[in-house]
């Protein structure tokens, strides 16, 4: 089930602060996937289109909020993320800063720091093999997206993917929710019809 932003806001209106450990505001409503359109804060429209297409018909184990190709997060979106996490849901936050200028990357880094996702100062590029190695929810390879925004170490939570041994994606419990960060966008692969990327997204929806 794909919900649009307005529906999601109604769904999660009761939780408007960052989730606290032990705070569980899950509702009894059926779980849904919400793909957030960040408008000008989304750097890759094809990523948004990819998630919209690939998540159609997916019923996740818990409410799932996907934020494709994010450059920055407006305050209202941060609240939505908090609401989802507070409700025990999963937030999949995809970096859209791979092709940003230096200033854009700095703003992006600051935004992620507020969510306790620490990324490296410089972007990287996979050297010979253009695939990201995922270890969760199962071991697989998904196409990289040229420039990756890797994680800095140490990192709270669990690293779930690497490129050339550099960590590029993480998963972290926040209260009862789960925040997943992707430093290399998967949305464009979904949009281009990549079967493995689609399978991975479905597995995340069922595992998180």
């Amino acid at each position: 089930m794909v919900m649009h932003r307005r529906e999601f806001l109604g769904y999660a209106a009761s939780a408007l602060t960052i989730a606290l450990p032990g705070h569980d505001s899950r509702s009894n409503a059926p779980s849904a996937v919400t793909v957030l359109d960040l408008k000008e804060h989304c750097s890759l429209r094809e990523s948004l289109a990819g998630y919209e297409r690939a998540s159609a018909g997916v019923v996740p184990r818990r409410p799932m909020l996907i934020v494709p190709a994010a450059m920055t997060l407006p305050a209202a979106v941060t609240s939505e993320i908090a609401a989802c996490l507070g409700g025990g849901g999963t937030v999949l936050l995809e970096s859209g800063a791979g092709f940003a200028g230096e200033w854009g990357l700095r703003v992006h880094r600051d935004m992620l720091r507020r969510l306790q996702v620490h990324v490296a100062a410089a972007r990287c590029k996979s050297r010979d093999v253009p695939y990201i190695d995922y270890a969760w929810p199962y071991r697989t390879k998904i196409r990289d997206f040229s420039r990756v925004v890797p994680l800095a170490e140490p990192q709270p939570g669990e690293v779930i993917a690497w490129v050339d041994r550099l960590p590029v994606a993480s998963k972290r419990r926040i209260g009862t929710g789960t925040l997943i960060y992707l430093g290399s966008p998967v949305g464009p692969s979904l949009w281009a019809g990549d079967v493995e990327a689609r399978r991975w997204l479905h597995a995340v929806a069922h595992a998180a």
Binding site: R45, E46, F99, P130, S146, W191, A192
Partner: protein
């Protein structure tokens, strides 16, 4: 059919006006202008300056056959970076604008590059998505976008049926094929491309190709008409079969070490024989 040749064939030290005289004296009817290739026709060239180019071309007794560009090799519509894609689309828009100013109804676009980094499925989808709105713009301007088959160099749309599917997916009457009969190399036969695409062909580039005779024998080499391996009688027959009566545009590499202008005369005469079917 009418004969044209690219302005990028004009010897570098000749200048535009002298080049136009050469094109006319060699027997061509028109000239293909390459946006971004030559100093007189850049993306920053203003509308009045483009109109001045047209005046000079018409004063020389020529017309513009089409507007081409090689800029998409470095700035492809299929780039992953959205800012590069936006730039690529702007180049196509400028081609459309200048085509109108120059009095022609066709442009050439190299649509998409498959690389190790940017995979085929992404390139395909991005090009389709980009060319739909550009096709609308072209249609409104009365211009046709001819996507060129640069088979081996692009590693994209390698067969004529695949190219036809691509055009079907774009689904715009203003987007067709700018066929280069020398670009097919070992991936097929030009006459079959002509037969399959027929009315969707916007323009035809002519050159010949020596298959597998390049460095170490593993590369094909472009050459002048009738010196290579293209089956010219079959190509001519296919043109007749599909009723192609449009522009033939010479696009060879400058191969003459001395007397570079001689290549214009030789090419023009070869094109006359092709058109006449004296092969």
């Amino acid at each position: 059919m009418r004969k044209s040749i690219g302005d990028n064939m004009i010897p570098k030290d000749w200048g535009f006006e002298r080049g136009l005289d050469l094109v006319k004296h060699a027997g061509f009817d028109g000239i293909e202008l390459w946006l971004g290739d030559m100093p007189w026709f850049q993306t920053a060239t203003t509308d009045p300056a483009v109109r001045e180019l047209r005046r000079k071309i018409e004063n020389a007794g020529l017309v513009v056959s089409n507007v081409s560009t090689g800029l998409h090799w470095a700035t492809p519509l299929s780039a992953r970076d959205p800012s590069v894609r936006a730039q690529a689309a702007r180049i196509v828009e400028r081609q459309i604008e200048t085509a109108v100013l120059l009095g022609t109804d066709a442009i050439l676009v190299v649509a998409g590059l498959v690389t190790e980094e940017v995979p085929y499925n992404e390139v395909y989808q991005r090009c389709v998505d980009a060319l739909k709105p550009l096709g609308d713009k072209a249609a409104r301007a009365g211009v046709k976008i001819g996507c060129e088959n640069c088979n081996s160099e692009q590693r994209f749309l390698l067969s004529p049926r695949e190219f036809a599917q691509f055009l079907n997916d774009i689904n715009s009457p203003a987007v067709g094929l700018h066929l280069d009969v020398g670009n097919i190399h070992d991936t097929g036969f030009a006459e079959q491309w002509i037969e399959i695409h027929g009315p969707r062909i916007t323009r035809i580039h002519l050159k010949d190709v020596l298959k597998h005779r390049g460095r170490s024998g593993d590369q094909s080499v472009y050459t002048n008409l009738f010196l290579g391996d293209n089956n010219w009688p079959a190509i001519r027959a296919a043109m007749t079969k599909v009723g192609y009566d449009g522009w033939l545009i010479a696009e060879m590499e400058a191969r003459y070490r001395y007397a570079p202008d001689q290549q214009f005369y030789d090419t023009s005469q070869a094109m006359d024989r092709l058109i006449a079917g004296r092969l």
